[in-house]
């Protein structure tokens, strides 16, 4: 079938708009992080905060006749000071933060539109090459970020999620872009939908988890230094973050969500390989690196449960896991030839 050029152009315009919205959101999150009053901003979602914090600092969940649901956040959250907004800078900054969330949603919608119109233009799922894959991956990352924000106050993650998202989309548009086209026969399979979609979702969630892990490391360093009375760099950054425990848990939940999906993606790929190539596993470079990623994240999940490895060490392992994903995507796709080569640029 022929490519619908009009829709393909629309897709390109939409993604440009999406990148613009994300970039503005990124700036907004940065302003919010730098100047916002971060104690006050948690209160609109008091209930969620109280529970998260309560679980972490082991404040009794319930006392007397209270069921805990109506308790104000501040009482249960000694980690967050409940001082009122200090000055109007912080007030403005917090407003900017809220606008950033709105911009993220706008960007997300444009992004969605770009993916859908590209898919309609080429009459297939639009993840057949690196450009399309990157678009979808960034989309999952933003989606995961929005989902987390809907469940708990996580605007602090904005800077660290939007930076790689904007970067990835920029690379996609400037470097990886290929004109819309039908797929090679090897990709004519419903396993493309299953295998690649799972890989995209898992990678997107891993991206957000990585942002949280990175913040955990900063917050943890800050907490340790603060406890020891030492001055710390990036203290402004650390000040806005929730406790390391919350970050660690947020990250862990994301990893624990993504890991089974990644496992499934690898398995679905193996099943497809069995149909397409006659071997479910032949240590193709891409397979090998997907396996390495799997092993590293399995290591992270175990390390997190092993004395002497949990905390910072486990976090380093998780970061290493993401490095292997990046390596697989950029280095293996572009520089190492294998049977996955058609998925290339």
């Amino acid at each position: 079938m022929d490519v619908n050029i009009g829709l393909a152009r629309l897709s390109n315009d939409l993604i440009a708009g999406g990148i613009a919205a994300y970039s503005l959101a990124f700036l907004g999150y940065a302003v919010d992080a730098a100047f916002g009053n971060h104690a006050s901003r948690v209160s609109p979602t008091a209930l969620r905060v109280s529970k998260t914090i309560a679980a972490d600092v082991r404040v009794p969940v319930l006392v007397g006749g209270s069921t805990g649901h109506d308790r104000p956040a501040g009482a249960a959250a000694p980690a967050m000071s409940s001082t009122p907004p200090a000055d109007r800078y912080s007030f403005v900054a917090s407003r900017v933060g809220k606008v950033s969330v709105a911009l993220t949603v706008v960007g997300w919608l444009l992004h969605l539109g770009a993916i859908v119109s590209r898919g309609v233009a080429v009459h297939r799922l639009p993840w057949g090459n690196m450009y399309e894959f990157t678009l979808a991956l960034a989309f999952t990352a933003v989606t995961a970020f929005l989902v987390i924000m809907a469940r708990q106050p996580a605007r602090y993650l904005g800077v660290f999620v939007m930076a790689p998202v904007v970067l990835a989309l920029g690379i996609a548009v400037l470097v990886l872009y290929v004109a819309p086209a039908p797929l090679v026969p090897a990709l004519h399979s419903y396993w493309l939908a299953i295998h690649v979609t799972a890989a995209i979702i898992a990678s997107g969630v891993f991206t957000v988890a990585t942002a949280a892990t990175f913040m955990f490391l900063v917050a943890d360093r800050y907490a340790v230094a603060q406890a020891a009375g030492r001055p710390v760099r990036f203290s402004a950054l650390a000040r806005i973050m929730p406790s390391p425990e919350v970050l660690d848990r947020t990250a862990y939940r994301a990893y624990a969500f993504a890991f089974p999906i990644w496992t499934f993606a690898v398995i679905a790929g193996a099943i497809w390989a069995e149909y397409a190539w006659g071997h479910y596993w032949q240590w193709d470079p891409k397979e090998t690196w997907a396996f390495i990623t799997w092993v590293i994240y399995a290591g992270y999940l175990h390390a997190r449960a092993t004395a002497g490895w949990r905390g910072r060490n486990a976090a380093y392992i998780a970061l290493l896991g993401f490095v292997t994903i990046l390596f697989n995507f950029f280095v293996v796709n572009i520089f190492i030839t294998g049977v996955h080569s058609y998925a290339g640029v």
């Binding site: 309560a54 319930l62 007397g64 069921t67 939940r253 193996a270 069995e274 090998t288 175990h302 004395a307």
Partner: protein, 559 residues
Amino acid sequence: MSEFSTDVDDTAAATKLDTAPIERDDLGTGQRVGRMPVASLWAQLRWAWYLLTSMRTALILLFLLALAAVPGSVLPQNGSNPLRVRNFYTKHPHLAPFINAIGGFDVFGSPWFAAVYLLLFVSLAGCVIPRSRRHFRAMRARPPSAPRNLARLPFFTTWTTTADVESVVTAAHTSLRTKRFRVDRAAGSVAAEKGHLRETGNLLFHLSLLVVLGGVAVSAGFGFTGTVLVKEHEGFSDTAIAYDSLKAGTLVDKAKLPPFSFTLNSFDATYERTGATRGAADSFDAHVTWQPNLNAKPRTADITVNHPLSSGGANVYLVGHGYAPHFRVTDGSGQVFDQVTPFLPNDSTFDSQGVVKLPDAKPQQLGISGFFLPTAVNDPNNRPVSVFPAPDNPIVVIGVFAGDLGLDNGVPRSVYTIDTTKMTVLDTAELGVGQTLVLPNGAGSVTFVGFDQWATFQISRDPGKGVVLVAVAVMVLGLILSLRVRRRRLWVRATSRPIVDPADAGRTVVEIGGLTRTDASGGFDDEFARLVAELQQQFPVVEAVEGAEGVVPMVEEEG
């Protein structure tokens, strides 16, 4: 996988929320697993076994496995691409033998890679099998009875109500039962437990890894894989000698391969004619007639890229295709040879290269070396080049040689190259379909009659793959259970309030304590709050108890 340890009563109630062994080398106190004991060989073996099955060792082996896999993705591998290995030898003649000696071109079959994963699997088995036994016992065990001091549990609340002890305990028992807890009732208290599926999932995950290894071993022993090139109108029957290459497991009887056969009736390929990917393949389709065995009725099938043909436990995959030009050669003595010879494609335009050898030609042996261009146009230098993979304007560009083909001296020769050192060029030509080159001095003629297509098939049997598929399905299920299910215990105790003043008469103190492993699923606080709300609705609070907040922080462990 560490112990759930909490600073609770001396009862076993609050401990052991899983079956993980105590990691004696990491109690968090800086204690290490000791040096190797010298007492006896037995003690040393036990020590070594303990060391191997510890989580720390397993983690290190896991990372070694990841690390060991890296060279396999960077260096060319014999298994997947022997040609690139040969190129590597040409480029790095000094380095290559060394890499070969340490198994660098066959990483995933090398002893050191096997050592890492076998140690890992032994470590895994040594950890998981005892745990499975403990878990089996734990699943049949009753929930431990309530600890003396519920207030010291991480989740706790208490209040005073007017109902009697018996009705509070009954209500709590019913409520927890409805919530599918495993519940035990004692005098004045209820103990409840839920979430054994977590450990079940965890163990299923790890056990299925062992099964995957077993499946792979079965495939390695009983599987085979071979490739064969078949021209249109030609057939293949599954015997070891019919393959161009065949790799079979050590336990395969090559005389007893599945008895199927097939004929390639025709091959179709279509290509993109417009757009950015002009020339890219659209579809490949091999039309075959096949028989599962000699006595069966022939049937037809289409083998396409994602749709192999299955027969007798073996699958036939379409892995490649190309053109086979048809030459009619008349030699100097008037003999006519009809040759349809597969040429190998050089690039995506199917500019293909090959040779035709006629050792029986007289008076001299004849050889043709040439190119087949499916869609030929002339480049600016007036040389023909192929611009499209479909046969829109097929030509051949050939050189015809006469002399000694060198086939009789016993040295194996490739069918795709010609050794012209003892031959002389008779003539060269570009021929369209139907055109004839008349050789000089009455040496004969060569006619480009037309062409057929050929396809390469991979035929493989992998008897372990069913086992592997089931195992990985169980693995994903186990993984989800182990990451999503929450193991938790709840205790409800009701006691008559000691009568200090008249207002205490008929009052009952309700205490609820809870314990969980915190994990990715979270949400125990919600569950706990719902139970409390439910009971408080039935037995309203008349007096909150002072000091209910006196909760000891929970030592948090993850698994």
